[in-house]
Amino acid sequence: MASVPSSSSSSSPSQPKTRKKPGQNSSPPPPPQTKWQTGTQERLYSRRLVDALRATRDRTQVQESVGSRAVKEAADSALALTARGQSRWSRAILFGRNSCRRKLLVKAGGKIRRHRRKQHGAPPVAAAAAEPGVLKEQKVKERLRKLGRLVPGCRKLPAATLLEEAADYVAALELQVRTMRALAEALSAATVSAPEEEETEAVDPIAIAEQGS
């Protein structure tokens, strides 16, 4: 349980430095999508997912059953956490869930707001004339708008940013699907193979897993 923070700090060390310091453009950082395909992210995410699911189940009242929406929200929050807030969609998910959204936006998101103003301050006049040819087509514009609606928190972004966010989001979603499917398969396989042990008290597998790790 305690090993989670230490392991997360060692994964992809180059990413946060390069993004935050604009002066550092000597070598382009590795494409952000491949970070989702490393084993580290999978392990991180599966651990976070299990934690989130356990928390969801503990929060649910005894009479109710765990709703699928709660599971999906837990999974999405875990995914956004694994992104470490480096992408807009992950921040949008995390800030959207939190009840004290205002406080978070001002505190941690104050930096984000400032960056946005900077971006919007420079291009609005120049962007209309300087758009590359392919972006002027109506079809492309419509599809970009549709894409902006699908990716959380990306409705008003310029095209290049939106494309980057979408690529990162697709890779993250693939990871999410892979992990959830593996978890579901493992659970259902175990349920099938051991159907007779219903009279034993409910053993919490997540607690055991955490103790054993």
Binding site: L150, V170, A184
Partner: protein, 93 residues
């Protein structure tokens, strides 16, 4: 996040999005799509890539919904045995 702007070529117009930047981003997106594996690397039109991306994202989100329903059902039935615990442990290692 303004570092992305600094990576583009700021020759005359500052923060001008170059055509090849967009093209590169679109092709990067195209590589992520499942169709890329069958369609080895001919250039597809940007609108097509965007369309495929939208569909793919929608499909993935739908899969997440289905999987979370499945997981919710499984979590609800608390017939968890130690065998399941062992499996989950092996998943996490």
């Amino acid at each position: 996040m303004s570092s992305r702007r600094s990576r583009s070529r700021r020759s005359s117009n500052s923060s001008r999005i170059t055509e090849e930047q967009i093209v590169e981003l679109v092709s990067k997106l195209q590589d992520l799509l499942p169709e890329a594996r069958s369609r080895s690397s001919e250039r597809v039109s940007a609108s097509r890539v965007l369309q495929d991306t939208c569909n793919y994202i929608r499909d993935l989100q739908q899969e997440v919904d289905d999987l979370s329903e499945r997981l919710a059902d499984m979590l609800a039935t608390t017939d968890m045995t130690s065998a399941q615990a062992a499996i989950i442990r092996s998943l996490l290692m």
